[in-house]
């Protein structure tokens, strides 16, 4: 690639800005992969069939917690058609997504930690033979007492599920205090405490995870893995580590994901197993998980118990907040350390919280591991906070919308926990949904059984810190201009349905004056594309977008300098639009883009440029400050209308009004899709979705099927009225912020608050099932507290708090005492 940097340095920055009008950005554009998707031409991982391909199956543990005392595989090996059998001893090196939680093995070695934990892998000539061979493997287990949930983990430190963590079966304990909350509570006119619970749920992508591995024998010695993954870069790292191969000898290709939602963000057992099986057999090996196995992979929403105490003045101004969370983590670490911090990080970015204390605990339990699901660790506390505020508003006899509007965090400010807020459109979001829904005519005024509720939220636009702490860019882009006028953009980002490929095409088209369909997009391939960290934390539009803009501007500058000479105009007057390069002051005086590329190529050689993006450092410098910072925060406000049948407890949601501050819409079509899809998923979590386990000590998943795991169909989905609010953020590409996760967050609390408005009972727990509403109504009838929800938060031996002075106390972002006591890599690495 030619150096784009050189071109950028020698040319004025204003070049090619055309007339300041956005020609492509913000329009409703069909996605660059839309045609392939509607014709069935998109090749997902399970659509790949290679010659001589073998099929793999995994044997999974039927026990929630057991020692493996022996594995006998010889009968399986002997079955005709079986080509290889693997057990844990064949893959002894541990891995995990976070550097601090390298606690997984591709196949369990000494111990299984949940029903579904993989124990052995088989490659055979067909799926049928592989499945039959599973029955011939004899595993001897010695059962251990299972740990069934987070409270069980606290009361039963033994037997330990893992031999690391913060003691017993507690994986992680966090204790952070920003300012003196006791002082804040003393100043308050009202101090309120609430307990809430958010049940775990799973991503349920329609595509089951699948992977195909191929091994090119020595002297190549090269492994290729095609996988339905959101994070090819981290899969690449895990494969290199476990298989002890040089990274250059591994190519990971992220196939288009048939839905991810966070569930394909970890490196998985099945990916490593097929890779090893391909190396052993010298043949391509495919694995496609069954739907039941997808439930075992999980990494979904952590079931979270929460306690929140807030002091407010009579006008609703918050004086202090203390928040505690207890997360049921399941059998492995996954992203759990980050998830734990996320349950405490973003309480401060919506309403002014001058003093803030957060205590979070994550427990290991003998269930499928929890991890990042859409909103990663923040929908639970957001549910708690927004329901809590609804109750506070009622006690203060304030309209909940007014309370929120009066105390918004100002734009361009620092929060108590040192998060840097840029653009902040929440006020506009609240006003849009209030006006649109007729809130003032409806709140506390609808007939019995009907109700309306409001909630708000915020989400990060990309994690400010990478998983592996290093100074490298979070996203890289390469761009090649073809002499025929086409442009190819290469980026490691991963298309999971959210439209990230299209973002690259739209941005290149905007800057080079092309049509997005003139741009070829190559993504998610560790051989072909520069690293992008992956499709998680709503980071891709902002980070790949900024990298892409840099690469495109460098190409534009290179082309403009040669076009200027040809057109005999100053380079600052060279504009790009409509596939032409022309004089801004006389648009008829110009040349075709393809001709301009040829001029430039003739003069300086192949036109190729690069761009990259690294977020600015965040001001928080205490241990734990790594989770929460982001280049920009999106904001959402939601009003939900509900009908509650008091006879059955059934809640229906006919309509939701949602306003989302996306900063700047890059592609209106995908923005609308992400907002509506977020509302849908939030509705499912509000009303029906739950990862439920049998009540006995076997900890067996109750319902690992699409039929029994209830998710909204067309018959449950509500109408959605969407308002796209655009408050551009200086850190976003053209001002853009995220929209793929944030709009989920306010939906569950808005529904809960609406249920209260409808029937006067509080269901302080999602999903808000008919049974819970019914029980709360019965309690109300009997004169008991009109509520369903948790009643206690267990005692936890918290470590000494890390005390961090707030910005307005003159702090510098560092802890003053206790900050180093629990110093772990985890605290710094999200």
């Amino acid at each position: 690639m030619a150096s784009g940097k050189k071109a950028a340095v020698t040319q004025p920055a204003a070049v090619g800005r055309s007339d300041g009008q956005l020609r492509v950005v913000g329009k409703a554009i069909r996605k660059v992969d839309a045609t392939a998707k509607v014709t069935g031409a998109t090749r997902f991982a399970d659509d790949l069939f290679l010659p001589r391909m073998l099929y793999a199956k995994l044997l999974r543990s039927p026990h929630p917690h057991a020692r493996i005392t022996g594995i006998e595989t010889s009968k399986a090996q002997a079955l005709p058609g079986v080509k290889a059998v693997l057990t844990g001893r064949d893959l002894p090196i541990p891995f995990g997504i976070l550097p601090v939680s390298q606690d997984e093995h591709a196949l369990a070695i000494d111990k299984v930690r949940f029903v579904g934990d993989p124990v052995a892998g088989i490659a055979a000539a067909s799926e049928e033979i592989a499945t039959a061979a599973l029955d011939l493997i004899d595993v001897r287990y010695e059962s251990l007492r299972p740990i069934t949930d987070a409270e069980d983990a606290i009361t039963h430190p033994e037997p330990r599920i893992h031999d690391y963590g913060d003691g017993g079966n507690l994986h992680k304990l966090v204790n952070l205090e920003f300012g003196d909350v006791a002082e804040g509570f003393a100043e308050a006119d009202l101090v309120r405490e609430d307990l809430l619970f958010f049940e775990g749920s799973t991503h349920l992508p329609m595509e089951q995870h699948a992977a195909v591995a191929d091994w090119s024998p020595l002297p190549d010695g090269k492994l290729t893995l095609w996988s339905s993954t959101q994070t090819p870069h981290y899969v690449h790292r895990a494969l290199a580590k476990v298989l002890e191969l040089a990274p250059a000898k591994i190519r990971v290709v992220a196939t288009p994901n048939g839905g991810g939602f966070g569930g394909k963000s970890d490196p998985f057992s099945h990916e490593i197993v097929v890779a090893k099986l391909a190396m052993l057999t010298g043949r391509p090996v495919k694995i496609t998980l069954t739907r039941e196995e997808v439930f075992y992979c999980h990494r979904g929403r952590h079931p979270t118990l929460m306690w929140v105490k807030t002091g407010v003045k009579r006008d609703g101004a918050i004086t202090a907040m203390h928040f505690k969370s207890l997360l049921d983590g399941g059998g492995y670490g996954s992203y759990g350390v980050a998830s734990t911090y996320y349950t405490g990080a973003l309480q401060t970015v919506t309403y002014d919280v001058p003093r803030y204390k957060f205590q979070g605990a994550r427990a290991f339990t003998n269930k499928p591991p929890c991890g990042p699901k859409r909103g990663h660790g923040t929908p639970q506390p957001r549910f708690a906070l927004e329901v809590h505020l609804d109750k506070i508003a009622e006690q203060l006899e304030m309209d909940p919308a007014e309370l929120r509007l009066k105390h918004l965090v100002p734009p361009n400010s620092l929060t108590a926990n040192w998060l840097k807020i840029g653009s902040m459109g929440l006020g506009e979001c609240i006003r849009r949904v209030i006006d649109g829904s007729g809130w003032r005519q409806k709140f506390r005024k609808l007939p019995p059984g009907q109700g309306i509720g409001l909630a708000c939220s915020s989400y990060i636009t990309g994690a400010g810190l990478p998983i592996y702490w290093n100074p490298l860019p979070h996203s890289g882009v390469q761009l090649k201009c073809d002499r025929g006028g086409g442009v190819t953009v290469f980026c490691g980002s991963t298309e999971i349905g959210q439209g990230s490929d299209s973002i690259l095409a739209v941005l290149v088209a905007e800057i080079l004056g092309l049509d997005p369909f003139d741009v070829a997009v190559v993504t998610g391939d560790t051989d072909l594309t520069p690293v992008d960290l992956g499709s998680y934390s709503s980071r891709v539009t902002l980070m790949t977008g900024n990298a892409c803009i840099q690469a495109a501007e460098r190409a534009r500058d290179a082309i403009a300098s040669h076009a200027a000479r040809q057109l005999e105009v100053p380079v600052a007057r060279v504009a790009f639009a409509d596939r032409r390069v022309f004089d801004l002051e006389d648009p008829t005086h110009g040349l075709a883009f393809a001709d301009a590329v040829q001029l430039a190529e003739a003069a300086q050689g192949t036109i190729g440029t690069v761009g990259s993006y690294t977020p600015a450092p965040s001001p928080g410098r205490y241990r734990g400050a790594g989770v929460g910072p982001s280049p920009a925060y999106s904001y959402s406000a939601c009003v939900a209308l509900v009908d509650v049948d008091p006879a059955s407890g059934i809640v229906r949601v006919p309509r939701v009004w949602i306003a989302h501050d996306v900063g700047r819409s890059i592609n209106a079509t995908t923005v609308m899709g992400q907002i509506e899809g977020s509302v849908y998923m939030g509705l499912g979590e509000a009303l029906m979705e739950e990862m439920a386990y049998r009540g006995n000590r076997n900890v067996v998943h109750k319902i690992p099927s699409l039929l029994e795991y209830k998710s909204p169909t067309t018959l449950e989905m509500c109408d959605v009225v969407t308002y796209v609010v655009q408050d551009p953020d200086p850190n976003g590409p053209f001002g853009a912020k995220e929209c793929g996760q944030g709009p989920l967050l306010p939906v569950p609390p808005a529904v809960a608050n609406a249920v209260y408005d409808a029937v006067g009972v509080r269901v302080d727990e999602v999903p808000i099932t008919p049974e819970k509403v019914f029980k709360a109504l019965r309690r109300k009838e009997k004169g008991q507290p009109a509520r369903y929800g948790p009643v206690t938060f267990p005692e936890i031996a918290w470590p000494e708090p890390t005390r961090v002075p707030t910005p307005w106390e003159g702090g510098d972002g560092r802890a003053v005492e206790g900050g180093g006591r629990r110093a772990t890599e985890a605290a710094r690495r999200p």
Partner: protein, 173 residues
């Protein structure tokens, strides 16, 4: 161990085909594995999610629950048979235009279920669309753009010069 293959003739996407396959295979498996038509997807292989929907004699069926053998002599249509003459079917075009296909995995099934609906009624109500698509799960879209796309395609198939509503593309201004 593999069963002896059977040979079957049926009509696939308006063309006669003959295919040899193991007799226990479902239509889903025959289409994907023996005929190479991977446009038909699977989400559960238990008849729960609707993702494997194809049309048999014009009616939507779950191809994961139908034996390939049961299709002898019948007309089968998959997503590969929708676009004709080098251009998209109006349903495909509307799905692409409105973003009704996000990840695209459930899309072929929705398209075929919608095509069956439009074959029965040229002007379906929103409720009729919801009913017709209630057996198909989508986790990306919240279904709304799918409804709008079916309505848009229906209008165009009726010969109307229909365009998406601005609030459908940009939200309420």
């Amino acid at each position: 161990m593999p069963d002896a293959k059977v040979k079957l003739a049926f009509e696939l996407n308006s063309e006669p085909v003959e295919v040899a396959f193991a007799p226990h295979k479902t239509l889903l498996e025959v289409l994907r594995e023996d005929l190479g038509l991977t446009g038909t997807k699977h989400g559960c292989e238990l008849g729960e999610c609707g993702t494997c929907t194809v049309l048999v004699d014009g009616k939507p069926v779950l191809s994961c629950l139908v034996l390939g053998l049961a299709c002898a002599g019948h007309r089968v249509k998959t997503v590969e048979g929708m676009a004709g003459g080098g251009s998209l079917h109006p349903l495909q075009d509307a799905f692409a235009e409105l973003g009704a296909a996000q990840c695209g995995y459930c899309t072929p099934a929705f398209l075929l279920a919608a095509e069956a609906l439009l074959g029965e009624t040229a002007r379906p109500t929103r409720d009729e669309i919801k009913q017709a698509l209630s057996g198909n799960l989508c986790r990306c879209t919240g279904y709304l753009k799918i409804y709008e796309a079916v309505e848009l395609a229906a209008a165009r198939l009726r010969g109307e010069d229909a365009k998406p509503a601005p609030e459908s593309l940009y939200g309420v201004r």
